[in-house]
């Protein structure tokens, strides 16, 4: 199957797997089309901002979770500390905290994507004449 030139949408009903043509050189027109998009400053800005944001949030969740596991492994006494003179321990609050932070981070990503990345993306598509 020949590679479907951008920007025509690929028909998902098509029986042939779409990457089948990947070993054939992409036809000249579509190749230059993609080069044009990659070189577009709007595309570069979108990719740069989103990739950076994604990796920062990834780092945050890794630090939060493995920090929690690290505390459990190395400082059990700290986690056993009572909070506010009650029965609940610091560890319990931190554990629930990890769950809430995970949820909050996905929320932050979605909010940022809705307010910023979608705008950049729409902007890019406009400038490409779509």
């Amino acid at each position: 199957m020949s590679r479907i030139p951008y920007p025509q949408a690929i028909n998902p009903a098509e029986p042939v797997v779409h990457g089948q043509g990947s070993l054939q050189a992409a036809n000249a027109q579509s190749a230059s089309e993609y080069d044009r998009i990659v070189a577009n400053p709007k595309f570069q800005q979108l990719v740069h901002e989103r990739t950076r944001f994604g990796w920062i949030l990834t780092a945050v969740i890794l630090v939060v979770y493995f920090g929690f596991i690290g505390l459990i492994a190395f400082d059990k006494a700290l986690l056993a500390t009572k909070v506010g003179g009650g029965t609940a321990s610091l560890g319990l609050f931190l554990g629930v905290g990890v769950i809430l932070i995970a949820f909050a981070l996905t929320g932050i990503y979605v909010a940022r994507a809705n307010s910023r990345f979608d705008v950049l993306s729409a902007d890019l598509k406009r400038s490409l004449g779509q």
Binding site: Q8, I10, H18, G19, S89, T106, Y109
Partner: protein, 564 residues
């Protein structure tokens, strides 16, 4: 499945072995006594089955194209998809296993809940939107976007089938034992019922039926768990502090249940488990398939956000249910096997084992009909999860192996879908057979192994092919293979298999969870082999990255929502 004897021994390895079994749907219940036939539970389960079969019939009527069969026509909304994702993830293991773990060890149960949840942000930040933009039906579509179809689909399909096989065995054996306990049905009947129903859902209704079965089950499970947690909190005036105080006063370990116990005393084991849970989530084929059922990248990312909320909420509920079990069941002898003079061990002697905490608590807070409801929900949960797994396995066989490798694209949609249905039937029969064969085997390590393989084969191949320009076919193929073999070999040489199953005196591989070692090994191999690959094909593949990059980042040219 969580053997209280091994939890009593606070040696890390044993505790981890027990804890690993928290993944699996009750496979290690040991010699289960068949209980009296539970008619309210059977009645409610029959209602669930009839209702879902009705949905399957309707879905089968609307399933015409391959896109309908594999991806529900791409027409699932973000909200529905998030419920289906949560349904795939909230197995009977998390519900019964984690509440049982909280019951025996308190705080330590929370370690598992957090581990299971933190994979979702990673899925969102790194792969969900790109997956939707690049993919069609299976994650192999994405990984092979610019790489060689034959090689990449073989490694992806192998990774998929290995994950599905281990996961399915654990679920089937767990299902058989659980149903024996809950419904009073013989083990073999239970396994056959599960197998036949999952074949019907998948072969007739495809992704549409599987999705809706999952959604209904997720709603039932969330509703039932919410009611139980609320009923527990109600008894303590909605004051968690009062619940904790009562639990600490009742539990034999006393105040120690509020602090970390023996579960994590070896940091390397703990981190390896965490790596497996976190990145395994991002490589589970039946979960990844769900991103192709929504219309676009926006819907994909919203579904992860909602699903993370639902799953996190569910884990908090299981924690409350576990504590409710301590506070409300431990002092009531009617939930225990009584020894001479009415004595019983609060941790070891619960009727049906500690996995039955949630079920017994249902009886305590809602009476026999609510007990029947929760039993039916537990059965429905297993059924929905195995249906999702079967669909993922059948898609790998038909869409990846048959259409792209064997027929090399020279096939048509109708015969591909027909083959997928046949594959679903075969997988179902094999699953029934394996469930029967493994009845008295220790299968507790198998879900852990499934996560490890997903993290060490599927995830590296997928992530590297999407994110790194330099990835070549040779790199992905050899790296994926190395990760797969490393994960399986390390588990075979670990205590769970080498000592417990084969009866050798000591384990050769010292940890129960291989992901910390096998996953980086896979990434490194992909990197190194790709770097060394100087073939002309490799150069073409690197050159094609821009095209893939544009589509993965913007969705330009992505497969649309409708197949018409």
């Amino acid at each position: 499945m969580i053997r209280s004897s091994s939890l009593a021994v606070l040696g890390t390895v044993l505790a981890f072995l027990a804890a690993t079994s928290a993944f699996a749907a009750g496979p290690d219940l040991g010699a289960v006594q068949q209980s009296a036939t539970n008619w309210p539970a059977i009645g409610m389960f029959l209602f669930f089955v009839l209702f879902t079969l009705g949905i399957t019939y309707k879905a089968a009527m609307g399933t015409k194209s391959a896109a309908d069969f594999y991806a529900a026509g791409g027409g699932i909304s973000a909200g529905t998809n998030s419920l289906a994702i949560a349904g795939d993830y909230m197995s009977a293991a998390s519900f019964l296993g984690i509440s049982g773990l909280v019951y025996t060890s308190g705080f330590d149960g929370l370690i598992y809940s957090t581990g299971f949840l933190v994979g979702w942000p990673i899925v969102l930040f790194l792969i969900a939107e790109r997956l939707r933009n690049l993919g069609k039906f299976t994650f192999a579509d994405v990984a092979s976007f610019r790489l060689d179809q034959t090689s990449i689909r073989i490694i992806s399909a192998t990774g998929t089938l290995v994950v599905v096989a281990f996961y399915l065995i654990a679920q089937m054996v767990g299902a058989g034992k659980l149903i024996q306990l809950l419904f009073g049905l013989p083990y073999l009947y239970a396994v056959i019922i599960v197998g036949v129903l999952m074949i019907v859902y998948v072969a007739f209704g495809g992704m549409k039926a599987t999705t809706w079965v999952q959604v209904i089950k997720a709603c039932l499970l969330l509703g039932g768990a919410t009611f139980m947690a609320a009923a527990v909190l109600y008894k303590y005036g909605f004051n968690p502090e009062a619940l904790f105080a009562s639990a600490v006063a009742t539990h034999p370990k006393g105040d120690a249940i509020m602090a970390p116990g023996g579960l994590v005393s070896n940091p390397i084991e703990a981190i390896s488990l965490g790596v497996g849970l976190m990145f395994g989530t991002a490589g589970l084929p039946h979960i990844l398939m769900r991103f192709f059922t929504v219309s676009d990248a926006q819907a994909a990312r919203k579904s992860v956000f909602y699903a993370t909320g639902l799953i996190g909420y569910f884990y908090i509920l299981t924690f409350i249910i576990g504590f409710g079990g301590i506070a409300l069941l431990m002092s009531d002898p009617s939930y225990f096997k009584l020894g001479p003079a009415g004595a019983f061990d609060k941790l070891k002697d619960m009727i049906g084992g500690t996995n039955m905490v949630a079920v017994n608590l249902a009886n305590a807070v809602g009476g026999p009909y609510f007990l029947g409801f929760i039993s039916a929900v537990a059965f429905a949960t297993i059924l929905a999860v195995v249906a999702g797994l079967t669909l993922a396995g059948a898609s790998a066989v038909s869409h990846d192996l048959y259409a792209s490798v064997i027929a090399r694209g020279r096939t048509n949609e109708a015969s591909e879908v027909r083959l997928s249905k046949i594959a679903a039937v075969v997988i179902g029969i094999v699953a029934i057979y394996l469930g029967y064969v493994f009845e008295n085997q220790n299968v507790a390590f198998m879900v852990g192994l499934a996560f490890s393989v997903a993290a060490s084969c599927n995830f590296p191949v997928l992530a590297m092919s999407i994110l790194w320009r330099g990835t070549t076919t040779w790199g992905a193929l050899i790296g994926g293979l190395v990760g797969l073999i490393a994960a399986v070999v390390m588990v075979v040489l670990s205590k769970a298999v080498w000592v417990s199953t084969f009866g050798n005196p000591t384990a050769i591989f010292p940890y129960d969870n291989p992901a910390l070692f096998s996953m980086p090994l896979a990434f490194l191999t992909i990197y190194a082999v790709s770097k060394m690959d100087r073939s002309r094909r490799a150069q073409r593949e690197r050159a094609l990255f821009d095209e893939q990059f544009v589509r993965s980042e913007t969705g330009i040219g992505a497969a649309g929502a409708h197949a018409h």
